[in-house]
Amino acid sequence: MHERAPALLKGMKLTARLLLCALALFVILGPLSSLVIWSLAEQWHWPAMLPQRWGTMYWQKAFRGELMTSFVTGLEIAVIVTAVVVVLAVPLAYVLARFRIPFKALILVLFLFPQAFPALPIFANLSTLFYRWDIAGKMSGVVLVQVGAALIYSLWTMVSVFQSVPRVLEDAAYAMGASRLRAFFDVSLPLAVPGIVASGILVFLYSLDEFTGTLLIGSPFVKTLPVQMYLSSMGYEMQIASVTSLIISIPGVLFLILFQRFLKAEYLSSFGRI
């Protein structure tokens, strides 16, 4: 009896542990598997646990119809937004990281401030402005609203990228007679490239997943996948919405799998917003 008690306790502990692991797996993967099953369900009547008829009908539908157009639109917007944001953010981040400039504190507040406020009411008022300027419901309007938002989120990672480039190297370049511009292009920029690429990828993913701004500014003419998904989900087109959800999630999950080991908290923190 005395010897069996610890063994029993051990067994109970092990069972509790296995149950916890199973629960964690179920909680994380349950909602996602629900998406996968819905996307492959050609016929699914309650209360069957699984669909009566499986098939790829809705996936095929997705690749032919409106969904493909939205996908391409979203991709085009994401490419433009990423390019513009990198071009705007890199020099500004460098200037903020290196130099004492007038109104620096004000500029920093300007780029922190919008993060503290809900986007919806701001964009609702922005959309009245965009209507006046005739860019609401157009690609240019959606690009503009996303560039603003992505700029705010990416500037901080870019500033920290440039801060991590040792200043000594630039000083060495100056000592050799290089101008500031030359030091930037030949020394700092090449060293910052990995960080810039990482934050560029994050901007790209952000743009693909952006919902609020695109819905408010782009509707009803510019539809990206998240907006399309919202519309089909509200219309109870569960299969189409699930296929769209999975397509939207693929780039982010691929990114996770490919770059798992390099992902640092500072880069990933922008994901808290997508």
Partner: protein, 284 residues
């Protein structure tokens, strides 16, 4: 020193300054037009009724949507508490017992966009969703009268917690990593188990990082739009972002939406202000 060289240096300086201004101005102008100006517009419009200065929009917003404001605070606060408990417990465990599989698994929600989380939870938790049909297999749920997990507070809390738990875990674990591990070794030598090490060492030593994470996440819940929109409308209390959107699209009453919007600005700022005040009084 040669006079022209000095002049040349001066000219270079001005040239560099101009370049600095040239790269700073466009982003600053963009943020001013897209955030600061609409922000000011929203405040002004919220204070106007029929072209005159008035607080009527606020009175109306508070009387009609007051319950939804309370609901928003309630679901956000409850979610953030759940997120913190889960992320500290699991983050602490994984810091002390590294496991790459579970670290990967718990990172997944971070990469699933908010909109997708909303829809996934809708299919999963709906009365006729996967969860209920699984539960009915083991007899835990009555098929003819399935419970609804999706509508009202429960659905939103589950969806928000599921998504941001992952983000919190990331922040919490990076704070735990930076705790000096010799403390933990010392604690282990004296027989402290996993729970003791988390409660008595990891949490107190990373209190400020956990506080910052809590503020960030609470703010993100208070301003969340995509998840609460995707979860749909149950007819009961709603998140105020859903209210703002429906006031704009269905009632077409921008001043009223803006009054609720300004209230949402204040709500979103509150956690940061409370946190900073707490920090200041602690150090004073």
């Amino acid at each position: 020193m040669n006079h022209s060289a000095v002049l040349d240096g001066g000219r270079k300086r001005i040239w560099e300054r101009l370049l600095g201004i040239a790269v700073t101005l466009p982003p600053v102008a963009l943020v001013c037009t897209e955030y600061v100006y609409p922000f000011l517009l929203s405040v002004r419009s919220s204070l106007q009724k029929n072209g005159r200065f008035s607080a009527e929009n606020y009175a109306y917003a508070l009387s009609v949507y007051g319950q939804d404001i309370v609901f928003t605070i309630f679901v956000s606060a409850l979610s953030v508490v759940l997120v913190l408990i889960l992320s500290v417990a699991i983050g602490g465990y994984l810091t002390l017992h590294r496991n790459r599989f579970w670290e990967f698994l718990f990172k997944i929600p971070l990469f699933i966009p908010f909109v997708v989380v909303g829809h996934a939870m809708r299919t999963f938790l709906a009365p006729k969703g996967l969860l209920n049909s699984l539960l009915s297999q083991i007899g835990a749920v009555d098929i003819n009268n399935p419970p609804s997990f999706i509508y009202g507070a429960a659905g939103i809390v589950i969806a928000l917690t599921w998504k941001q738990f992952s983000f919190a875990l990331l922040l919490v674990m990076s704070a735990f990593e930076s705790v000096d591990h010799s403390y933990l070794e010392a604690a282990r030598t004296f027989g402290a188990g996993t729970g003791r090490q988390i409660l008595n060492f990891l949490i107190p030593l990373s209190r400020s990082s956990i506080g910052v994470a809590a503020v960030l996440i609470l703010t993100s819940f208070l301003q969340n739009f995509s998840v609460v929109m995707m979860m749909g409308d149950s007819g009961g209390a709603k998140h105020i972002m859903v209210d703002i959107y429906s006031i704009i699209t269905y009632l077409n009453d921008l001043p009223l939406a803006n009054a609720l919007g300004v209230i949402s600005y204040l709500l979103a700022l509150a956690p940061a202000i409370l946190y900073l005040r707490g920090e200041l009084t602690k150090h004073a």
